[in-house]
Symmetry: C2
Subunit: 338 residues, 2 copies
DNA sequence: GAAAAAATTGCAATCGTTTGCATTTTTTTA
DNA sequence: TAAAAAAATGCAAACGATTGCAATTTTTTC
């Protein structure tokens, strides 16, 4: 078609016989410009497949319309690259951000430099940061937040921090999962998950509370501390049964993946589920209902989570007040419990 | 600490008592600049937490060091937002890109404007495009490629296209899966997947070839055409059994997710696996081995896939020749087959 | 129909880096 | 020690869009 010399706003303006300022305004549908002029230039832009140079625009306006999403991986576990829940959340964030006119720059705590504020914000790569997961230490997050950049974290909302946190109601989730097992007659329930992790600690608190209300003193040897992958869960359960036999009749897991690992170990030993042992997962990933038996679990509403995170981030960008937000959490009863 | 007036290269240069050109070169370790000057400025930059303004740099150099990754979703299925295989690939691409100094801008075919070349490349948002999946029609891809932007696609490498394609050996995968089932005594094998999709069509070809070699004429009613999610697979299998009974003894699935759906349907009807029906999946997602029974499947090496895709894209950016690349594919035998 | 008001459009500076070329400083050479 | 060569630094012009303000055109008012 046309000679493929790069089309700039200036050239487009020339084609239209107007100044670049008029062209610029016309493209943004600025009412300062006469209606006819606007539509004419917009048509021309479409005809020539013109699109504004983002680099120049960002430089001039000091705004990128990009948000960095950081998967905050936990060292030496391969959790996040494989955990469907986290990836699902990324997908939902993508939707939510796009809906607000932002793009998503994906990163993770292994790759990104340690100084997030500088690397992403001051360098004008992004306008804000969404962090998925608090990790075991919030050091990097705290540092970034302290330097005042817009940031929102997915994690435990009870953590007292200088930035908004969005998360599930972990206490309630742990509580309901446990309460349900106990109400169905379980007497010795295991908690499977790493309590060094803030969110998991909350769930453990819920676990304790449910026991207390049922007047059962949870035997602490029943609390397993394991990294949150299915593989470690599988191994832990195997070892445990080998060592202690089947000294439990229920398991509360900190994720569906962990539940899957445990489930596999139990099935291999022909433990009846839910007849001998009831299992409750967490997250309600799409696989949960495909399990056999389908997994009873605590659902976290990821779409709402994404919306809330983006909302809180935009609040910061607009200098509005922010606050922690709790995402809906609900017990989904399926077949892995009585 | 220091007043928080934005630190630019010019100010940093002033602090160091040199010109901005010198500062700029020093930061990139350009040997034109005296060694001592370089280290001094670099130290200063670190001290003041300085980082180059990416927008300005991109504008000046006409390079972004960003690659757009587009999840090419298939209309009205929710495949891609949930399929662990695709998301795993995104994760691997992130690693591979970072290793080469690029960042990853995530997008999907629902959100991105239809004119990828313009939106991502001409607008200087990214230097190149990686597309995950060919979809049912390659229209958008073709258009972008035709306009000459650097692009690489994950898909069926036998498609003849004007751009490099990286993909698994789908023919071989389908062939081996089927051959294995037949070799274990299966007589009536089902192919579960949508053959309108290029990759799936190749797998189906492999399926046919294996039958031919075994001198079995596959009954075409045994080829199920379904969208590639576990839910549709589950429903399809349910309906099918209800209508026809158990008129098959093996299933070749186009993804592990599909296999999971089928597995669930069979288990619910107390069909023995692998005694009554053998199942082979595809992809070897991390859940495959957690299934009960653990899933026999065709593994695709995602890490290699990511590396090859990035390699081919960089070739284009450097004006080197490109070519289609086939990723390792291998049969992983587990317990869902005899 | 001229002056005032309103509606359009254009001028020109600016965002912060990079880089070809010119200039200055240092080192080498004879 | 002066001239030539090499090394180090700086000048200034881009890159392409945006926007406050000034200038122009059009419409309204009397």
């Amino acid at each position: 078609m046309t000679a493929d010399t790069k089309l700039t706003l200036a050239k487009l303006a020339e084609l239209a016989g107007v100044s670049t300022s008029t062209a610029s305004r016309a493209l943004k549908d600025n009412p300062l410009i006469r209606k006819e002029t606007r539509t004419k230039i917009q048509a021309l832009a479409k005809e020539y497949n013109f699109s504004i140079n983002a680099a120049a625009s960002r430089l001039r306006t000091q705004k990128t319309n990009v948000i960095a999403v950081i998967l905050n991986l936990i060292d030496n576990t391969e959790q996040s690259t494989t955990d469907p829940f986290l990836l699902k959340l990324v997908g939902e964030l993508n939707q939510a951000l796009n809906a607000k006119g932002y793009e998503l720059l994906l990163s993770n705590s292994f790759m990104a430099s340690d100084d997030w504020a500088n690397y992403f914000i001051h360098s004008q790569r992004a306008d804000g940061i969404l962090v998925i997961g608090q990790g075991k230490t919030t050091e990097k997050i705290d540092r970034a937040a302290k330097s005042g950049v817009p940031i929102v974290v997915w994690g435990d909302t009870k953590t007292d921090a200088g930035y908004p946190i969005v998360g599930g109601n972990n206490f309630l989730g742990g509580y309901e999962a446990t309460k349900y097992l106990l109400s169905q007659g379980a007497k010795r329930v295991l908690f499977l998950g790493d309590s060094e992790h803030a969110e998991m600690r909350e769930r453990l608190r819920g676990f304790m509370q449910a026991h207390e209300e049922a007047n059962i003193v949870p035997d602490f040897s029943h609390v397993g501390a394991i990294d949150i992958t299915s593989k470690t869960a599988y191994q832990y359960m195997n070892d445990r049964i080998k060592a202690n036999g089947l000294d439990f009749d229920g398991i509360v897991c900190v994720s569906d993946m962990v539940a899957l690992g445990a489930l596999k170990a139990l099935k291999e030993r022909y433990v009846g589920i839910p007849s001998d042992v009831g299992i409750v997962g967490y997250d309600d990933i799409s696989l949960a209902e495909l399990m056999h038996p389908a997994l009873t679990t605590i659902r976290q509403n990821t779409q709402q989570a994404a919306t809330l995170m983006v909302e809180q981030l935009l609040n910061q960008l607009e200098n509005k007040p922010t606050e922690n937000q709790v995402v809906e959490t609900s017990l989904i009863v399926r077949r892995s419990t009585k």
